[in-house]
Symmetry: C2
Subunit: 631 residues, 2 copies
């Protein structure tokens, strides 16, 4: 039921369209009750002041069969509302019966959108409350909002009105002399699984069944040598999802939600076995569209997020895949879902539900063609502040680590998992076994990219995210070739929460592990996928973190080349190499100190060359575009 | 014009309702064109597949007069669309004429919502593009999205198709032999203020007039002694806004937008001179509702934010006042507006516009009655990452500093200003002159609350935000009484961005000022209104910031008492005092070191007492509720 104030909110407006994706042969049903009492708090509402004819047209335009229940007499209204509920229930059952009988022969799709019932309930605001207070009308007006009798402590007349009002519910007939509800009424309360908190419709964890997940190792990209081949990593996730749809076809408990479309995000393999859900007229040219589809594409992040939340809360599994920047549209909904999980965690009778899995792809760094509006990694900042009991952020740098992370997330319970990885062709770093080990550790030293041997490095190059990893490894490579005496350690972070101190987040590192990775006192040049300063918020509390020098998305962007994006934000391989030289200079030996200024100038020149090239050719120079690791 | 994909987004859905707030006698008009071509990318759209009858009902239900233009023949469609535009223009002009003539006698309101025109345009997707490629239909299907001919470089047949397609625009007739547009066509381009970028409708700064602002000092709360009286600070802002409405009644360039209602946020003084705007039927009990009102209350953060953005972009002024937690609903819109400002700043022909002023009130700390869903200061984190050229966050601790900040924000240009202050009665700290000086500095030492005299303190107590300020000053008071030998300095921060290093934000402090406030090496116990770790993100780069120990909102909340909220988040006066003792112990002398454990135990006992009291009485103990500063 929605009140008329709430009915004005945008996201809810969009949800009227959801019946175009609701299949009566397989899905449940919603009976919308639009309760119009004319006001939100003090002001009128749009629909509350619209004529019945307009409200009817609006809902009929959305595809509903509209039932009005209007009046002021409680007894008459009670009967009228009960009769309307019965009629609507019968109507819903009829729609479902027809669809299910029709689908008995194996035709589980539907071709047209049924006309589902909806109720418009018009009653006075403050109905059955005080009619008039202090000479001013209250019932039926904005004055009945919140506290209609505000002076009962001081004003005996108001106290008497309160008593009269409360007595109108006839407590003498409802409670015995000791204040207990009379057995006749107490017996009306539902028992067992029909109690609100015990019903599987409200406590979906009770009916949750594990996904039957194929072995993700089977989708591995072979990586003989690190950083030599480019692939679209999310395609591999598409294949894993495809086979997960197949292996769970029997239990039918997986759905994929995607506002910007599955193909665009390179998850299109799912259409080998699944369809886009649409309950409406289809035409011959439609591509994998069916009323029975389990892929939901609608250009509303709110609908996608809301559908997934509802699907999880009723004991199923799913993934919301979106352009990174536009995940922010549903940020408030994710925050509220996270809060719900944080609190549900405290209730022993609440069974765990599948995690809210969000794939942020088409990321800030590779929206070079779409431009600045599409460049925004801010959802990471939003989720960082949520409790460690529920919040998880993963930045797999390649296909195999993505597969390992996705497998973990799809098995997990009661989390909000953000998975951030781009869809464009990208260098592959880790073979499957190495990726599994790395993802499980959350963060580890990439020894093949490091040259610190057994001892302490002069500088640590840290990175989190696919593009930052590319630039960091390329910086290590450049330093190895141009300043071989500099001892460089490369640390890659997949699980961002591991960087928190252990006491702040359950994934957080203890101090021993932190020092193992980042040393106790060496400078750390860190390249981060998100807004750069967030790293300082995360690492605070570890030893001497003033030595972290972070480059990341710094709100610099436009329509340009991929390398120009990292240049604009000061995160290119040459920026990182120069920063490493600058920072290491203070701690390292004289031979490097002498050469550092020259080397830094070379980095600056390389940036200038690449920039000039891209201005002339509208693409990055081959030494950037085709760069690979050579030992 | 909206495409059918976009038409599915929730916020846009809500915007159909905006005509209930559009006054034809004074406002402009929008002619919505709903362009339906059947697909978004690969999938069908809801309205694209809905019948004309349903689409008509939907828009008529929203209150529009619907014009359909449908077809595939470009020439016929061109004529039909032009004729429809003419008809709609005439219809809009007619509505405006009637309203304006009717209002000539001084009745500037309207009583009913006019039936504004809207156009539904149905054309094939990929219209006039390639009809068929590789044997598959393209025009009119999902295949025409993005790049219909993807192999022109390699496939001569596709290249020929591209040429044929491009030639269909008859470039020979449009350009001369040197590739210049022929003068006959070039002359059609508008000149001067009719150019898109020069029109004041698109470059609103051109017609921006300064607000005629009353002297905010006139609304000062007298504060003879700090921290002795409690007032609802936002009421003073309401009075300032009331008189600002009056003084700008002539230039009519101020509006107030408020999803949760102006009275609830204690800005109700505006209704002494202004009304809620509503263009629809009114009834006798309505409270300050008029078609001519300049206060916009609609329970859609998206509509409020969108309206304000449009109002500013067309050269006017406004304020969006919302419950803090629900500002997050419009976060993505604020991010995009900030990005727009960041880029507009680079365009010399773009004139500055009034800032986007957002009042976040009914904050996390004082939603003790509404509970956890209403407790979320996350919009601060979202805005922190935006460029220093546009992003501002103010946390005035009392009425006079709020007035000073609001005056500054209402005069400013091209910023997004978040102003965060609660609406509940709160202690007042600063007289007007002190408040002005403090707000201008952004952060300063509160000497009356400090006891470090001329020398260095043992510990700095920093704070930002009204509730953190209360707890911090009370902690300083407790320490003064219980550990008088501890030298404590209290630093209050109004302008959060001053804590950034200067090179990161134009409001940022240089190192000299930072050390003046926070010393170079003493421990800082900082109480923050927002999520606590954000402070580490801000102060990084200043000297030795590992010594900042921040308490803030830590995602702990429920329906409880105000003091229990600060206890749950470890930010109570006793938590702060204990933390100060713990941190100062390492740097201070032996006499304190001996007593510290006992004092910390006393803090813990005080917390336990207060908690026990609130569990028993459902309110905080009098020594908390009625606490005032005594020198």
């Amino acid at each position: 039921m929605v009140g008329d104030g709430e009915a004005e909110t945008g996201p809810l407006e969009g949800s009227w369209k959801a019946i175009s994706f609701l299949n009566p042969a397989r899905d449940g049903a919603v009976l919308p009750i639009l309760h119009l009492n004319g006001y939100k708090i003090a002001g009128p509402t749009v629909l509350g002041r619209s004529s019945d004819e307009e409200v009817r047209k609006l809902l009929e335009g959305h595809g509903y069969e509209v039932h009005f229940v209007e009046g002021e007499d409680p007894h008459r209204m009670h009967q009228a509302f009960a009769a309307t509920l019965d009629a609507c229930h019968e109507s819903i059952r009829g729609i479902q019966r027809e669809a299910r009988e029709g689908s008995a022969g194996g035709n589980t799709g539907v071709s047209g959108r049924p006309r589902w019932p909806a109720i418009v309930l018009r009653t006075p605001k403050g109905w059955t409350g005080p009619g008039e207070v202090g000479g001013l009308p209250v019932e039926g007006t904005f004055r009945s909002h919140q506290v209609p009798l505000s002076s009962v402590r001081a004003d005996p007349e108001q106290l008497a009105m309160l008593e009269e009002w409360m007595r109108s519910y006839r407590p003498d007939e409802l409670f015995d002399e000791e204040g207990r509800l009379i057995p006749e009424l107490a017996d009306l309360a539902p028992r067992g699984a029909r109690r609100m908190g015990a019903s599987p419709h409200a406590n979906g964890g009770r009916v949750l069944r594990d996904l039957d997940l194929p072995d993700f190792r089977g989708y591995a990209l072979p990586v003989e040598k690190p950083a030599t081949e480019r692939h679209e990593s999310t395609r591999k996730l598409g294949e894993l999802l495809r086979d997960t749809f197949t292996s769970n076809a029997g239990q039918r408990n997986l759905r994929l939600f995607c506002p910007d479309e599955v193909n665009s995000n390179r998850l299109g393999a799912v259409f080998e076995v699944e369809n886009r859900c649409f309950v409406g007229p289809t035409i011959p040219n439609d591509d994998h569209v069916s009323g029975d589809g389990r892929v939901f594409e609608v250009l509303s992040e709110h609908l996608c997020e809301g559908w997934l939340e509802g699907y999880l809360l009723t004991g199923r599994h799913g993934l919301f895949a979106t352009y990174e920047a536009f995940g922010m549209i549903a940020a408030s909904m994710m925050v509220q879902h996270a809060k719900w999980l944080e609190e549900a965690d405290k209730l022993p009778w609440r069974d765990p539900i599948a995690s809210l899995n969000v794939l942020l792809t088409s990321t800030a760094w590779r929206n070079d063609h779409n431009g600045f509006s599409h460049q925004g990694p801010g959802l990471i900042d939003v989720m960082l502040s949520k409790r460690g009991t529920v919040a998880r952020i993963y930045l797999p740098p390649d296909a195999n680590s993505l597969l390992s992370v996705a497998d973990h997330c799809l098995r997990s319970r009661d989390y909000v998992n953000l998975i951030v990885i781009d869809k464009q062709p990208q260098l592959q770093w880790l073979g499957m076994e190495a990726a599994i080990e790395h993802a499980a550790a959350g963060a580890s030293v990439w020894e093949w990219a490091s040259n610190d041997g057994e001892g302490e490095p002069d500088v640590v190059l840290g990175c989190a995210g696919d593009v930052p990893t590319l630039e960091t490894v390329a910086a290590a490579h450049w330093l190895r070739q141009n300043a071989p005496e500099l001892r460089v350690r490369v640390v890659n972070v997949v699980d961002l929460m591991t960087l928190f101190p252990r006491e702040f987040h359950p994934h957080g590192m203890d101090e021993t592990r932190f020092v193992e990775l980042f040393t106790a006192d060496k400078p750390v040049v860190f390249a981060f996928h998100g807004y750069q300063r967030a790293i300082h918020e995360i690492v605070h509390g570890h030893v001497d973190v003033d030595r972290f020098h972070v480059r990341g998305f710094n709100e610099q962007g436009t329509t340009t080349t991929p390398f120009d994006m990292v240049v604009l934000n000061g995160m290119s391989r040459y920026h990182l190499a120069a920063e490493a030289l600058r920072r290491a200079e203070r701690t390292s030996d004289a031979r490097l100190r002498d050469r550092a200024p020259t080397l830094i100038s070379e980095c600056e020149a390389a940036i200038a060359r690449a920039t000039a090239y891209s201005r002339e050719h509208f693409e990055d120079p081959p030494e950037i575009n085709d760069w690979t690791w050579t030992p």
